[in-house]
Symmetry: C2
Subunit: 295 residues, 2 copies
């Protein structure tokens, strides 16, 4: 990369593209017949247990298995905000994380009923997420457009697995114009769940935060953001109709296709403070653009 790199001291958690085990070198042959080495992301299965119950197997880059487990369970509504979590145990060899709670959770009881009546609980996961939303109330927080431009520029210039290897999504917890926690994973949902796990562990409140993601704004992404109590969700990518519907329902400020000086606000437009003249922020340098081949 020829671009000036951002000093990552400002992050609480920044990507660690050089960390051993996250990527591997693989040899391929290009269109001209030449062999070339590629730095490629490693994915591994991770099975998440809630107490004695096996809940899901996720494909992940395995950098923060404990945060992923906590965040997944929290975003699915399987852990209440006030839950007494007595342990989070990662076993690298077995590729499992067990989250333990002081009391058997509601979800386990619900799951066991579902299991008896209609078989597997996979189908209930989505219903539970929508149920969890009923209790969510998001604060009416203003959002400066200049902050969005600054965040986008800072995040794109941060050294990351994406810049190193590609084929990965990123999600960043931000405050004002400052990115704080930058998580990456093969699936965009995992990256968001890892942030949720970090927030739960560090007891961080979402009310004054902005969530930035490289992935599309589907219903699930919007629901997760609302479950995390974050009133503003921003993406470089597009959006689905249901994602927009849910954002409008729960009062979330939803911004899609943020690239350079352009964006589309789909929900909560009244909260935008248009303090930046778009012309003052340049179009993205093509080398900064995430989408598109690294080669």
């Amino acid at each position: 990369m020829q671009l000036p790199k951002l000093n990552d001291k400002s992050y609480l958690i920044a990507p660690q593209p050089d960390r051993i085990g996250l990527t591997r070198t693989i040899t391929g042959v290009d269109h001209t017949g030449l062999e070339a080495e590629h730095s490629v992301v490693e994915e591994r299965p991770l099975t998440i247990f809630l107490n004695k119950r096996e809940i899901v197997t996720a494909m992940t880059i395995s950098d923060y298995p404990e945060y992923l487990a906590l965040g997944f369970l929290r975003n699915q509504g399987m852990l209440r905000p006030e839950e007494d979590i007595t342990g989070v145990d990662f076993d690298e060899e077995l590729e499992t994380v067990v989250v333990r709670t002081a009391q058997e959770t509601d979800y386990e009881d619900k799951l066991s009923k579902k299991t008896r009546t209609s078989g597997c609980a996979i189908g209930t996961v989505f219903g539970d997420m929508m149920e969890g939303l009923a209790d969510v109330s998001l604060p009416e927080v203003p959002v400066k457009v200049s902050d969005l431009y600054t965040l986008s520029s800072k995040i794109n210039r941060t050294p990351s697995l994406y810049l190193e290897a590609g084929a990965i999504h990123g999600t960043v917890l931000c405050q004002g114009d400052q990115p704080l926690v930058y998580m990456e994973d093969v699936g965009r949902h995992n990256a968001v769940d890892k942030i949720a796990g970090w927030m739960l562990q560090s007891q961080t409140d979402g009310a004054d935060k902005i969530l930035y993601t490289t992935g599309r704004l589907t219903s699930e992404m919007v629901i997760k953001c609302a479950m995390m109590g974050i009133p503003t969700l921003v993406s470089r990518s597009g959006f689905t109709a249901w994602g927009v519907d849910i954002a409008r329902q729960v009062g979330l400020t939803l911004i899609g296709r943020l690239k350079g000086q352009r964006f589309v606000c789909l929900s909560g437009e009244g909260r935008l403070i248009r303090d930046a003249k778009a012309a003052a922020f340049p179009e993205e340098d093509p080398r900064q653009q995430r989408k598109g081949s690294k080669t």
Copy 2:
């Protein structure tokens, strides 16, 4: 779109971007404060049953629910190739598809055991997919590079939901230089599963086919392609290390980052017939590039 459009008569199934219910018009406000209308993809939940057992709820654009259900179950190894399927019933109001088989399937038995012992079956889905691979043997089929270039160009010029609304993945079943069945969905897995469902229904053999996808080549995508008996998998996007490992294990020709005249072959390079001088095929017109904002 200013580009010349491909005559889609050559497809057995082409995208229907104008079909009612697939998109909706949503009003947003852009970076200059102007209101603009956007054509946005609709996603809906679809719950898939195998006989009396609820298996999964997928978020889908709902254009081919029956193919999605059949293909999902087949790619998970829950339906054997020789299974006697007695019915596939879609209920639009309940948002369910029920796939019925003459005999109770092995999977139901396995699921019920898992349910008793370790709770929910979600975690077994991946294990089952890997198990299913043991029986897969892919034929040693040559692949012409000129066909890959022609396919890529034809597919990018085909009118699609992506060109209409964005935020969607496409997967295309091809033979030689001819795209045959072009499916789109919010998740890349759904688009592949719909192709698998069509292949099962129409008893189409994968041995002489090429599978093209816009999505990344993760382990799950490679496993699905192998389960479909298709020896060649091609993507515009990147790849993960495990995706490459599995392709090499099962003898699948794996090609990533196919854009214009460029690509990387990660597995099965010996089968490539380099019959095209790259220079004869132009770089992609920026307007043809899928990745990047539509706006």
